[in-house]
Subunit: 159 residues, 2 copies
C-alpha cells in the first residue's frame, strides 16, 4: 500500500466519516442505532466549543479510516480522554492504518491525562489489536460494567 | 430525616465533594486511585468551559451527597450525558437522597441526549438501585467491555 496520511479531520470530511460510522455500526451488528447526520457531526465537531475531535487517514485523496475522541472527566484523575470510535475501511485493514490512528489519540492521552479509555464489544476481533498496544480489559480485571438508561427508560422515569 | 435539598454545586463545595470522592474510592476498594485535589475540581468545574458538572445534596448546611456528570459524544446519537459519580454519605443512605441526585442528571439526559450512561462495579449493591430506575447492564446484554491504557501502558507505547 502507498503511504497513507493521518491528519486532523476537516468539516468537509464529515460526510465520509458519517459513511464509516454507518459501516462500523453494521460491523457491530447494530446498524439501526445510527441516528446522527453529517450535518450534526459538522456542527458538533467544528464549532467554537467542539464536543468531539477527529483524525482521519487519507490515501490518494480517499478517506480510508477515522477515529473520534472527546474529553471526559475522571474524579480520580481529572480531565481525561475517551476514544469513542476507531474504524478502517475493510480493504485497507491490517496495514497499520488503525495503529497510526490509535496512536494519534494515545499520544494526546500520554501527554495530558495519563490514561485512555474506550469500549469494545467482547467478540470484536480488534480486542487483540488493542491488547497488543497495552490495553487492559477493566470489565474483566476490575468488573466494571457499562449501564444505560435508554430513551424508553428515561420516558418511563419522567412520565 | 428532615427535608434535604438538591442543588447545583458551588466552587466552595469542592472540598466536601473531594472528601466524598475519597469515600467512594474506599467503598470501591481503590482508595489509592484518587490523584485529584479540591483545587483541580474547582478549576475544572467552574471555569469558562467546565469539563464536568455537579449537583450536591444538602441537609442542615451539611453536604451529604453529590453527583458528577459530563457531556460525552456518541457517534450514533450526538452529544450525550455520562454520569461519572454518585455518592451519598453512609449515614444518609436509603432515604431517597441518591434517587433525587440521580434524577437531576437523568432529567437533563431525558431533555437532551435521550440516553444516560455510567459504569458500575459488578458487585456494587447500588446495581439494584440503578436497575429499579430502569438501567440496563449493557455489558451483559450487548457485551460491551471497558478497556484502558493506563499510565504505564502509555509510557511503554511511546518509549
Amino acid at each position: 500500500m502507498k503511504e497513507f496520511l493521518v491528519r486532523k479531520a476537516k468539516k468537509e470530511d464529515m460526510k465520509d466519516v458519517y459513511e464509516m460510522i454507518k459501516g462500523l455500526a453494521i460491523f457491530e451488528k447494530m446498524p439501526n442505532e445510527v441516528k446522527i447526520s453529517p450535518e450534526t457531526l459538522q456542527k458538533d465537531g467544528f464549532g467554537p466549543n467542539p464536543t468531539f475531535h477527529c483524525f482521519v487517514a487519507e490515501l490518494n485523496s480517499e478517506i480510508i479510516g477515522f477515529t473520534i475522541y472527546y474529553y471526559c472527566y475522571s474524579t480520580w484523575l481529572g480531565t481525561s480522554i475517551f476514544l469513542e470510535d476507531l474504524f478502517v475501511k475493510e480493504e485497507f485493514r491490517k496495514q497499520g492504518v488503525g495503529e497510526e490512528l490509535f496512536k494519534k489519540v494515545a499520544k494526546l492521552a500520554h501527554e495530558s491525562s495519563h490514561r485512555l479509555d474506550f469500549h469494545v464489544l467482547r467478540w470484536n476481533p480488534a480486542v487483540d489489536f488493542y491488547k497488543k498496544l497495552g490495553a487492559i480489559d477493566l470489565t474483566k480485571t476490575e468488573e466494571w460494567h457499562l449501564y444505560r438508561l435508554n430513551d424508553e427508560a428515561l420516558n418511563k422515569l419522567f412520565s
